[in-house]
Assembly symmetry: C2
Homo-oligomer: 197 residues x 2
DNA sequence: CTAGACGCCAACCGTTCGGTTGGCATAGGG
DNA sequence: CCCTATGCCAACCGAACGGTTGGCGTCTAG
């Protein structure tokens, strides 16, 4: 068997994503992750330092994949709505990410710290800023953060909707989420203080 | 010091509510709860059986207090909106309950099992059924569940709103939540299948 | 060809976990 | 006034926790 360190790292991150999403930070043991990955747990400490920092790496990794190449098409608030829709599709394709974000906001000290850290963030934020005429990068970053989290919450809400109304088609729930996220994003824009305006 | 068993139970339930709300089920140790309550941890097992069943007791206890005497005033969808507003006020007065619900839905097997178990539930559900012409008790119970959970999520949403717009007054955030919850409750009613209609 | 750096693992460390046990003190019925 | 049931606690249990260590095998620079 050839030696492949990047594959080892990847297997650990994948297993970490599964385990943390399923049982949270406190509920997941480092042993379980290493067992799931088929790798000795000492590798986690060699690669990532501590359980806590490993969680950050896992979340950042998954968020990078979630936001990679997800750009606004066009300008105006409709573009924001379509963008939220495609973001929704990615959440639906990989429910673990939504759970990871929920866990982080509940049990970790700094809420959504990883969201602000994600590498694709500033790029998407600048697009949002251009399309929506938000003055500076800091507030655009905040806006992006809020929209991401809104869609996350909306995803949970539709899961509930599905529970209440089992027959509802997934497509209908998707459009409901898009409109919901768009409306809330507009409201967020509205209440957000804009200096120099 | 006089012996007072109900006070011992109460102190454990209170401490359990604080600890579970702060760090979740897996993140809370039975020792920490007993230390917080100033009671030996063996009492938890004598009174409630296991850590898991103790969590159920804590959540049911807090939910009973949350929903106690919270009735619909009047009829129609506006009444539902006002009801959601008062529910929101109670959530705001005791944020622990919202966190407990969020924890349960994330990390425990059966989502919202305690919500369906709460003693005040059927009473409130019958009021909702009358006001909104929902056919049978089962679907009314589901409706109540969804509304409660919607408002719970709304709590997360406003926490985010506060983060994005720190200067926004709490009152403004409340009305936003009420409208939000009302609209979503109406949507839930809309997509919910109603037999015999 | 060889020396050392490095990926990797088995085994181990002290601590904390959920849960149990034995006994002391007290309350209340006879 | 005693006897039993019960509230309560200190101490304990095996297991599992996050984290570390020593050494084995394998790549690679010189």
């Amino acid at each position: 068997m050839p030696r492949d360190t990047t594959s080892t790292r990847e297997r650990l991150l994948d297993a970490g994503g599964r385990q943390f999403a399923a049982t949270g930070f406190a509920g997941t043991s480092v042993d379980a992750v290493s067992r799931d990955a088929g790798v000795n747990k000492e590798r986690i400490y060699a690669y990532f330092g501590s359980k806590r920092r490993f969680f950050d790496h896992v979340l950042t990794h998954r968020l990078d994949g979630l936001l990679d190449g997800l750009d606004l098409d066009g300008h105006g608030e409709d573009a924001l709505g379509r963008w939220a829709g495609r973001l929704w599709d990615r959440y639906a394709a990989d429910p673990d990410v939504a759970r990871l974000l929920a866990w982080e906001s509940l049990e970790l000290d700094e809420p959504a710290a990883a969201v602000q850290r994600v590498s694709s963030c500033s790029e998407v934020a600048s697009h949002l800023r251009d399309a929506l005429a938000v003055p500076d990068d800091a507030s655009a970053r905040q806006l992006l953060l809020s929209v991401v989290m809104l869609v996350t919450s909306a995803w949970t809400l539709t899961a509930l909707t599905a529970l209440v109304a089992p027959g509802t088609a997934a497509a209908a729930r998707r459009t409901a989420v898009v409109e919901h996220a768009t409306a809330l994003a507009r409201a967020t824009l509205l209440v957000s203080p804009r200096p120099g305006r």
